[in-house]
Each structure stands twice: as structure tokens, then as C-alpha cells.
Symmetry: C2
Subunit: 157 residues, 2 copies
């Protein structure tokens, strides 16, 4: 099973916190804390990638070959995590969504149209302008996302 607490790298504490928050959230809503949910959260946390439901499922099967987690459970858990604002989904031109932990700092994305890689960035200036625009238009902003499409350094060879 997911032996999370033995992982004493830099991010361990963050994860413990995340996990704890998740447990509290579950309890509040009379939901159950299951191994599947734990593994999905941990895998999302461990992976720096932006994962599709399918790639997340594959990753989990690699890491825990003995466990059989159904793809349906992955979808159900991702929906739950998204509703709870623990993860965020990104959808690009391509079909399907990618998920990432939303608890990490907010950021925007540079997406390479050649290799599909995603680079993250934050720009305070843009964040501020977004607030202003929403205000000006009487819009009650909940969230925002920005993508820049182009060709990344590596693919410009």
C-alpha cells in the first residue's frame, strides 16, 4: 500500500498537510477515506506532470501493480477533487483534460504545440490586471487561466 509517510523529502510536509485537509473534507461530507483516494491524491502530488485521467491511471498501475484501481474510480475521484478545489483541470485544443494539484501556487501555462509539454509561470502584473478587468465588468471572479501556445526552446532546434 501507499507508504507515504516514509517519504522525507522536501515536499513531505506539504503532502501531509494536503492529505490531512483531504481527510477533513471527506469527514465533513460523510465521505470515506479509501486507499484508492489516497493513492490518487499521492500520485497527483508526486508527479510534476499534468496528468490525464488515463495517464494517471497508468502511473498508478505501474506503481501499485497489485492493486487494481478502475479507471472509473480515477474519474470519480478526479471529479471529487475538482469539486473540492483540490485539483484543477486544464483543457486544451486536444481532446481530454489534464489535471494538476490546485493547492500549489496559482500559475499559468506555456504550452508547446510541437511536443505538448507544459511550462508554468506566474506574472503578478497579469494577475492584477485580471482582477481589475473582472471588477470593471461587474464580474464576480472565481478563477482564471491563461495559456500561451507556441514552440518551446527544445523544439526550436
Amino acid at each position: 500500500m501507499a507508504n507515504i509517510t516514509t517519504n522525507f523529502n522536501d515536499r513531505t510536509i506539504e503532502y501531509e498537510q494536503l492529505l490531512n485537509d483531504f481527510k477533513i473534507l471527506l469527514k465533513k461530507n460523510a465521505l470515506k477515506f479509501t486507499i484508492q483516494r489516497e493513492i490518487i491524491l499521492e500520485t497527483l502530488y508526486t508527479s510534476d506532470e499534468h496528468l490525464t485521467p488515463e495517464s494517471l491511471h497508468n502511473l498508478i498501475q505501474q506503481k501499485f501493480p497489485k492493486l487494481k484501481i478502475g479507471i472509473a474510480t480515477v474519474y470519480r475521484t478526479l471529479s471529487l477533487l475538482e469539486e473540492s478545489n483540490i485539483v484543477t483541470s486544464l483543457s486544451f485544443g486536444a481532446q481530454g483534460k489534464k489535471y494538476e494539484l490546485g493547492a500549489k501556487n496559482h500559475h499559468d501555462h506555456l504550452i508547446c504545440t510541437e511536443c505538448g509539454s507544459i511550462t508554468e509561470f506566474v506574472d503578478e502584473e497579469i494577475e492584477k490586471r485580471q482582477d481589475k478587468i473582472a471588477n470593471k465588468l461587474g464580474f464576480n471572479m472565481q478563477d482564471h487561466s491563461m495559456q500561451i501556445y507556441g514552440i518551446c526552446k527544445d523544439c526550436q532546434n
Copy 2:
């Protein structure tokens, strides 16, 4: 059939141009100019909405009940138009894409999470920052898009 040239409102000239560009593009690629393609382009132009393939198809069926345009043709034409950079697709959290004419001025989107309505805006400041960021990260920018999610004025009642 699509009696486009009799539409003498403000936007007619723009449309004539658009149509012409499209014809040239088709010729260049040894593709054919068909009634279906014309109607799809015209409907996209006439509608101020951001259309899904399905809603576009419905609109066309309303406008031209005698013509039977298959949904497959709508998809195929939208792909063609997108490849040719005549339309742009937006994909949000929800499933499915929405298309809009890309020839119009660039702009970003405010999306209401209640009613799904889309408001457009442009902010020069943000545009500039985006260029800077792409440059700084060695990214060859081709395009970008920004969405602000929240609750629109009307839905805040």
C-alpha cells in the same frame, strides 16, 4: 441557398473579404468551394455567439431547412477552418469545444460558470506582458488565450 451578397449591413464588406480569403485558400490547396462550406462560414460570421459544432449545426438547419448538412461535415469544415486559422476553438472545463471566427480582433474571455455565457475583452497591458513572458522563457509564441471564470452580472441577481 445562402444569399449572402444581399446582406448590406455594416458587416457585409468584412464578410465578402473573409469569403474571398477563404476561396483563395481553398484554391491554393486544390480544395473545393461548396455550398456547405459557404454556409458554415457565413453562419459563423453572422452569429455573435461562440458555437459548438452541434449548435452550429442546429442553427444551419433552422436557417436552411431544405438543405441537409450532416454533422460530420460541420466537424470536418470546422477542422479545416481551424487549421487554416480562420476560426479558433475554445475549450473549457465542460466537454466539447466552442468555435469563433478568429479573423476578428484578438480578445480574451470572461466565462460565467452559472449560465455559460461568454463575454469578450481585450487588455493591451496583458497582451504586452504575454509577449514579454514568452520572450523571457525562450518560447516562440504563436497564440495565447485567457479565460476568467466567475459569475456574470446577470447571474448575481
